[in-house]
């Protein structure tokens, strides 16, 4: 990229204005201004999202898809409006390809239990990678155990990139499903999901992409990726927790059996037999997180208003700055140095456990995550029990990363 458009993009991004939209950033922690570097665990919410959710309860709340009354129509329209926003956000062809559910974890479980149980049999294989979150490991383990299938894992190298030669070798005609994260939550690696999808499709496997860590940081286009399923969580894209979305290609969703039975997912019910509702409702049993879904729509509006390309440029600048200032600290090693990264600075300090780092940084007002980040196999790969992870959002600043570096030096001072 030439310097000019990037400079223009940064100029278009009013960081102070964005920060003012997050009420929590006015909070202090232990007397210090909050420095929130834990957005990979869950993002903070802008006022627009908070308002959207309370407005539902104040003015237009009702159950959806049921009543003939005014409020039910308002709530249904708003909820279906949110679905249409998700469809646009992901670049899906049709809104019936968007299943609204609790989040990415539920989406992976849905695909494993519905598509997987139908199409994976004894001797078949499911392929994942060595950098997956537990939620993209365990549902496949459960499926493989039930079906007598085998879970294969494409290893990662020292930088935290998937070994693509090994990935290709591990694909076989027995591979039924490939499930990979778009961005690693523990390392920040951006996976080449488009290439992975091409390779997987060439051997006849379907591809699921776990987009939980990607959706807040980069523009997603499921048709450009070519994947069959894509999932993300609302709470990581500045929306509420307890709501998220699964994209599935209509032809696959049509052929899949329902996952959970209940209200809203049926066309008709008799004691002898029930028939299923059309897409996507077939996969949406029970009353969903209505206000949360509507607020997810507001979060997508907000993100699109700020602009994902602008956010990505800003966060990339932060990532470079953070990598530089942390890299200057003796005894600090960054874990995850992939060529393409998004949003995550994971690191270890010589002789100091991440748990201690987390407690001491908290006293500086700095919120980071410490531990295995629900990715124990990643920790095992590097032979470490845990890391400290600073993760970025659009509202973070270079100065906050300088404060992080200063805080880390204080930690080292205490343990000298």
């Amino acid at each position: 990229m030439s310097g000019r458009p990037e400079a223009r993009a940064v100029a278009a991004f009013d960081l102070e204005a964005v920060r003012r939209e997050f009420p929590v950033l006015r909070e202090t922690v232990h007397g210090k201004p909050l420095v929130y570097l834990d957005s990979a665990a869950s993002a903070q919410k802008p006022q627009a999202v908070i308002d959207a959710e309370s407005e539902v309860y104040e003015r237009s709340y009702s159950n959806i898809h049921r009543g003939v009354h005014h409020l039910s129509m308002l709530a249904t329209d708003a909820y279906e409006g949110a679905r249409a926003k998700v469809q646009r956000f992901l670049g899906a062809a049709e809104s019936r390809e968007i299943v609204l559910l609790r989040g990415t974890t539920e989406a992976v479980n849905l695909v494993a239990q519905s598509y997987g149980r139908k199409h994976v049999g004894a001797g078949d294989e499911v392929l994942i990678t060595g950098l997956e979150h537990h939620s993209n490991i365990v549902p496949w383990q459960m499926l493989c155990e039930e079906k007598g299938a085998t879970l294969r894992v494409a290893p990662i190298d020292d930088a935290g990139e998937v070994d693509m030669a090994a990935f290709e070798r591990l694909l076989s005609p027995r591979t039924r499903i490939v499930s990979v994260s778009h961005v690693s939550n523990a390392l920040g690696t951006v996976n080449p999901v488009r290439r992975m999808t091409e390779l997987a499709h060439a051997t006849g496997a379907v591809v699921m992409v776990d987009g939980a860590q990607a959706a807040p940081h980069l523009a997603v286009d499921v048709r450009a990726i070519g994947c069959d399923f894509y999932a993300f969580s609302g709470h990581k894209v500045y929306g509420p927790s307890g709501v998220g979305a699964l994209y599935g290609r209509a032809v696959l969703l049509e052929a899949m059996p329902p996952w959970q039975g209940g209200g809203d997912m049926i066309a008709s019910v008799t004691f002898e037999k029930s028939t299923w509702n059309e897409l996507p409702y077939k996969f949406e049993a029970g009353t969903p997180n209505i206000a949360g879904g509507i607020a997810l729509g507001a979060a997508i509006d907000w993100v699109e208003r700020v602009g994902l390309d602008v956010i990505a440029t800003h966060e990339h600048d932060l990532l470079l700055h953070g990598t530089r200032v942390l890299g200057e600290i003796p005894g600090l090693r960054i874990v995850g140095t992939a060529r393409k990264k998004a949003g995550v600075l994971s690191f270890v300090l010589d002789g100091i456990h991440p748990h201690d780092v987390g407690t001491i940084l908290d006293y500086e007002g700095i919120a980071v995550r410490t531990g295995h980040h629900c990715a124990q196999p990643v920790m095992d790969r590097y032979g470490i029990p845990a890391t400290t992870r600073a993760s970025l959002a659009c509202f973070n600043t270079r100065e906050e990363l300088d404060q992080l570096a200063l805080g880390i030096r204080k930690v080292q001072e205490m343990f000298r």
Binding site: D356, P385, F415
Partner: protein
């Protein structure tokens, strides 16, 4: 609340130079402890003769609080009877969970171990401080596993 109340000099010292930090070939009791939340692990070895804890050691990996707690525990338990060791476990538990009616008494009875009193101000760290103690208790009782969960 000052951070130094948690990270006291004696705690930092034991975390950097843990005492009795090795295996024990002639141990007749041992148990593995695990804190699934943060991945800390501790193995506690005991050599119990009759009613007396003759020797104690530990291995594992963890944060400074869990390492120092394990180290100071091993120092404190040598030569204690099984009943005394169990009582110390109870007192230590009272101290770090800060049951107000018991913490003051516990602090007196625990002697040096009272430096862990600051832990109760850090609820997320109570499990770090207690891991080795739970593991020791499991070993005493003949179990082989302890978890802080």
């Amino acid at each position: 609340m000052d951070l130094r109340e948690l990270y006291q000099e004696v705690i930092l010292d034991h975390s950097k130079r843990p005492r009795n930090f090795h295996g024990m070939p002639d141990a007749n009791r041992s148990a593995n402890g695990h804190n699934p939340l943060c991945g800390d692990r501790a193995t506690v070895y005991l050599h119990v003769e009759g009613d007396v804890v003759r020797d104690v050691s530990f291995e594992g990996s963890g944060c400074s609080i869990s390492t120092a707690s394990a180290s100071m525990m091993t120092d404190a338990l040598k030569g204690k009877t099984v009943a005394e060791a169990t009582a110390l476990f109870e007192r230590f538990h009272d101290l770090v969970t800060a049951d107000p009616s018991k913490a003051a008494v516990a602090a007196v009875e625990l002697g040096k171990l009272a430096v862990f009193a600051g832990v109760h101000e850090f609820p997320m760290r109570v499990k770090c401080a207690s891991l080795a103690w739970h593991t020791m208790k499991a070993a005493l009782e003949g179990g082989d596993k302890a978890s802080t969960e």
